[in-house]
Assembly symmetry: C2
Homo-oligomer: 570 residues x 2
Amino acid sequence: MMHTAAALRFHSARCESTAMGAMPWWGWGEEGVAFSHADKPELRDFVLRRIGVDVDRSAVRRAAFTDLELPEPSLPVDLRAALEGTVGVEHVSVDALDRLVHARGKSLRDLMRHRRGDVGRLPDAVVRPGSEEEVAAVLRVALTADAVVIPFGGGTNISGSLEAPHDEPRPVLSVDVGRLERLVEIDEASRLARVQAGVLGPRLEEQLNARGWTAGHFPDSFTHSSLGGWIATRSSGMQSDRYGDVADLTRAMRMVTPAGVLATRPVPSTSTGPSVREMVLGSEGRLGIITEATIHVHRLPARRTILGYLLPDWPRALAAMRAIAESEADPSVTRVSDANETEFSFATRRRQTILDRVQSRALRWYLGRREIDPAAMCLAFVGYEGSPQHVSLQRRLVGRIVSAHGGLCVGSGPGELYDQKKFDTPYIRDWLLDAGAPADVSETSAPWGSLPELYDEVVAAAQGAFARLHVAGHVMCHLSHSYHSGACLYFTFAFRPEGEDGGLAEYATVKAAIQQAFVDAGGTLSHHHAVGIEHARWLEQDISAPGVVLLRALFDGIDPGRNLNPGKIA
Amino acid sequence: MMHTAAALRFHSARCESTAMGAMPWWGWGEEGVAFSHADKPELRDFVLRRIGVDVDRSAVRRAAFTDLELPEPSLPVDLRAALEGTVGVEHVSVDALDRLVHARGKSLRDLMRHRRGDVGRLPDAVVRPGSEEEVAAVLRVALTADAVVIPFGGGTNISGSLEAPHDEPRPVLSVDVGRLERLVEIDEASRLARVQAGVLGPRLEEQLNARGWTAGHFPDSFTHSSLGGWIATRSSGMQSDRYGDVADLTRAMRMVTPAGVLATRPVPSTSTGPSVREMVLGSEGRLGIITEATIHVHRLPARRTILGYLLPDWPRALAAMRAIAESEADPSVTRVSDANETEFSFATRRRQTILDRVQSRALRWYLGRREIDPAAMCLAFVGYEGSPQHVSLQRRLVGRIVSAHGGLCVGSGPGELYDQKKFDTPYIRDWLLDAGAPADVSETSAPWGSLPELYDEVVAAAQGAFARLHVAGHVMCHLSHSYHSGACLYFTFAFRPEGEDGGLAEYATVKAAIQQAFVDAGGTLSHHHAVGIEHARWLEQDISAPGVVLLRALFDGIDPGRNLNPGKIA
């Protein structure tokens, strides 16, 4: 059973966990919280059918902490003393578990390698400054000692943004900004909040909610990711259709750089040359350490609802979402799954009551009347927020569009379920990994006109890779964010590995096939998961060679010694 | 009388004007089109009262073209031959008038200096490539010869972005991209248009409108400014509340750089590191020459209306605009003038009919009943676009907010008038300059909470400067764009010069006082007029010293020889 109290209990756990790393070194979330299929009668069969893994029989042992060979830290005495003098002895850690937890993010590759005992180049120390001044002092000390500095927020990155180069000879410091978690002030007239960058999602919303506000930013990683991390990787949230991507809602930021503290102004729009604000966004630690941001906040909405809809097939599902984006409706969430993911969603249902079964039968009858084929149908969620009148008008506008595309509304029940389970996905990945099945995600965005073909090509690329590798694999997709001119398509894939390495090499093949299909079909290498090292190989194809020249000019200009998170992006 | 057909006649004039420069070298628009007060009985008195200039008696002679001392071009024979070989002999001009028109933009300082015969460092040639390949070839030739390249779109910049350094020893080429004015294609499914960057506003809308689309971008300079120029200076338009600033509506661009052709992808959102798209935006020719952009387009709305409103005073006018931004209303235009600008608007009314006078008397009676003081009242325009139902709902929502702030709707008459006259302002400036009165604009943006104080401080700064200089001066303001967390305040000022130089030095004092007040009060140096050389001195105060380091890293990285529009921005 999934412990849904995890997010709520997270705050109290934070104090201990920051001492030893926020999450277990081999997986997601809190230790002791896990996903299970015990109460989901259709799930085992679904997984068996799709990738040939029997979750009741298959179990892969992961390395125990005591099995690991963890190198001693290589931290010069002078550097350690200088760091301790700067942030205090208790905030410079060379503890092995702490260093392990800070060595990587939470990509599938990170977890698979850790679970096999391949821990890579650990940082030599974890440093936890308690103020912007301390961050600046740490950076000065690090640069003086020619050390490498890797900023660490929640540690949830899945593109390899947190990993030191395996052959890095210089001392490596993970600078964990988790102590910077304070809401500094709310400018209520301007609907802006100044917040320290180390704050994690739940703590941010807790502080804002207490005063009647919300930031409205809810990425899948919400429970464990930080504001600074969202900015450094250009995060999107589940309600970004309404609240904007983090690039939209972040008005200003403060960042400690080798040239001093960069501070942009929280103005709504400006023409001060190439946007420095948009250089900090997505910078992944290459330009400095983000310490604070000024972000949009909104009054908590009077009404909030997410409705479920069924569309007859994927082409009409995409067309309906495009029509909603073109309409005068203004929903907070637009999400629709393809048939494969719809089937998966139904397979994760809990044990049904008699009433559920009666409702299911009624729905099937209705689908038959509307000539909707259950094997092709696509489950959508559309969210609405605002005054009761506003919500009701938006629902009417969307309802008409869905009907015109042969779909129907299935009420608020599925939406409420989605809302409850929206942060569970990474736990499902651990559950599959425990059973030996690698599962991962890749997402892109492209213009509306390119999406149908891009979808077909990505699915074909994944299936082609599975076939070439002779592995049983599954790929599914949902549209997760809509914009004026296009949308984000979010793919999830899993397979039963055949290789000796637990599937690492096979995973790389499938992942690369999908990424290549993205850029070949006119998409971007990632809509909101950043570049890191995992996506760097497609960067030039995406932004062109002169684009890469501009990025390198930026990095080299502010950090000529390449001390700041070297090797990431470009 | 203002020739309102100017914009329409512009297209046919373009062919001749590109040969000799798009606009007169001493002013705005088309030669022979002018603003006059002959049919506006209150205007002469208003100007006399406010700045002591009698437009009927005062007239300042401007230099004639034949008076000017124009230096011979300094264009090496090899370079000229190489350029002619690249774009054709007819597209390399060393004509004196052509070089003069390309020497500067249309800032007040540009016009005042030109009118006095101070023409500055003219470009040595005007080169007009006809394709992206030709742009690339011109840049290669220029770099080989170590020439300076200044891209030229419509030539309307008012921040000094087009002027060569006065002591530039290298050959200077103005690369006029006016031949690149084609709508390449519309992706109707994605609501995206690929357009060549040299297209001017009217020609862009003409090509889009013919197929039922609009870009919705209408800056004050619309009739004479180009898409590439909008991008290079981060332009905003009158309907940007709805359509977005040019930074929002530009999805992708192509730019010829020393490192090759930069091409970003027209994806709706992406996480490919620091945004290269947002580096091209605002780059003012420092990174390369923009040749093409992919921009949002919208179906022409079924209904479009602009309503006038009167608010009782400036504090309540600002509060009403803030409340509209916070509400669920979605207007296309939000604009409100302070009392001074409201008085100016009424002073530009044409000779009234008896009916007008009866209506005015009825309005005055009504204002009296509502206890609105005509000397304090603020005229607002709010625009609505979309389906009839949508427009009518937005009107109701806005109407309620205006009422709650003590204001009233004065119908669509003033709005229609505003809509007709919206591109006239630069002609009024020429009319004032002809009478010897310098008039200019400065605009900023800031959070809502800072705007009341910022306004007071800017007005005090301008009036303080007038007093110190012992000149009669006038300053007025309108809010021109609203956002979630703030707005743009747009100031206009004029004065009667006392100095020997026609007011150039006095102008510099007033302008500097206003700009300094912007940054001191938390605003930005410019919301949408770019940096150029005029605003460069406030850049570090605005984006902080490390921000300037980042910009310089970018410029030096791609253009180590500083051949691309040197001296601009940073």
